[in-house]
Symmetry: C2
């Protein structure tokens, strides 16, 4: 896709919110990787469409992707989990500023361990260390609701997914293969590749 | 995205069905434009996720995109509408071969006019003449169910969406603008661009 069309799409469909702009600036200044803005819009749309009661984020960082999910919620809630307290504190700050605190719960610790405490998850979002994706889905899939979906970021691994010498790419290929075999899945080619999977 | 990654995605996530292969061959031999195979997989996934009761296709051709929707249905039905009887007859033939006839209804005539007879549409799929997209959505949006979504194909118009001299591109830009303003929408960059929109 050419640059002009990409700009056309981004501008036409941008989710406008000054807090998102601040979060992007914060991520940039702190060299904290965040999800692609257009991928974020996809998270918002899929939430609007599915109307989930419970979203659980495994690896929330300072809440950028969580913010898109939360903006899309009708009457459910989102749980943000990250192992760093300073990330979660920052997320709380941004959510407070955006008026979204009431729809969100914040947890500090190992995201997979904490995630196991939540049952009937309608959207399980994976954005933790890439080598742990497969472990995470195997431990948490039993906690999905009947119609639950899994979304995972970075499944194209910055274009290095086919690199045989990259250890993380190898683990992500294993994860992608598992998701293709066990679920009805697709990778949406926005940002760094968003996997969208539903139980067969 | 490079060609190797595209092949990786397509092969990993292909919906395997010999009838789909036949339909692709038929489309190719008859120079009948059909939806991109990867975009078709997206239609299947979104149907699996949303579990719609009623899908209405405005401009079905010989049923290639409809087949993906129908394969994704849990207990709903799809209505295929095309103005050419020979297209609809061919669609019936393929659906029969795939064992999908029971979930499908087939109509011949002006797809917008016929579409107006259906209420509570959970997924409205637009794939008619591109100059009529805006007319179609304005006439049919009142027939969407409460959580209904609209999906439209070719909204990037084969990369010519920004071409100021292309009359169809101009009409599609008007449509995209309408969808961005009135709905929560995004264009999924698969195939020729799939618009996915939900009521605000």
């Amino acid at each position: 896709m050419n640059v002009d069309i990409l700009r056309y799409l981004t501008e036409l469909y941008e989710l406008k919110d000054p807090v998102l702009n601040k979060m992007e600036k914060f991520g940039h200044e702190n060299e904290f990787p965040i999800i692609d803005k257009y991928a974020g819009k996809f998270l918002f749309i899929i939430t609007k469409i599915l109307k989930p009661k419970l979203i659980v984020e495994i690896g929330s960082g300072f809440g950028y992707s969580g913010y898109f999910f939360c903006k899309g919620l009708t009457d459910g809630k989102i749980v943000l989990i990250d192992y760093q307290e300073k990330n979660i504190n920052k997320a709380k700050e941004f959510f407070r500023e955006g008026g979204l605190l009431e729809k969100a719960e914040f947890k500090v610790g190992d995201a997979v361990d904490i995630g196991e405490n939540y049952k009937n998850i309608d959207i399980l979002f994976l954005d933790l260390e890439k080598v742990r994706y497969l472990e995470a889905v195997k431990k948490l899939e039993k906690n999905l609701s009947k119609n639950g979906v899994i979304i995972a970021d970075n499944v194209l691994w910055h274009g290095k997914i086919l690199d045989k010498s990259d250890k993380k790419a190898e683990k992500l290929r294993e994860f992608n293969k598992y998701m293709a075999e066990k679920y009805d899945s697709i990778i949406i080619p926005v940002g760094d590749g968003l996997l969208l999977a539903v139980k067969r």
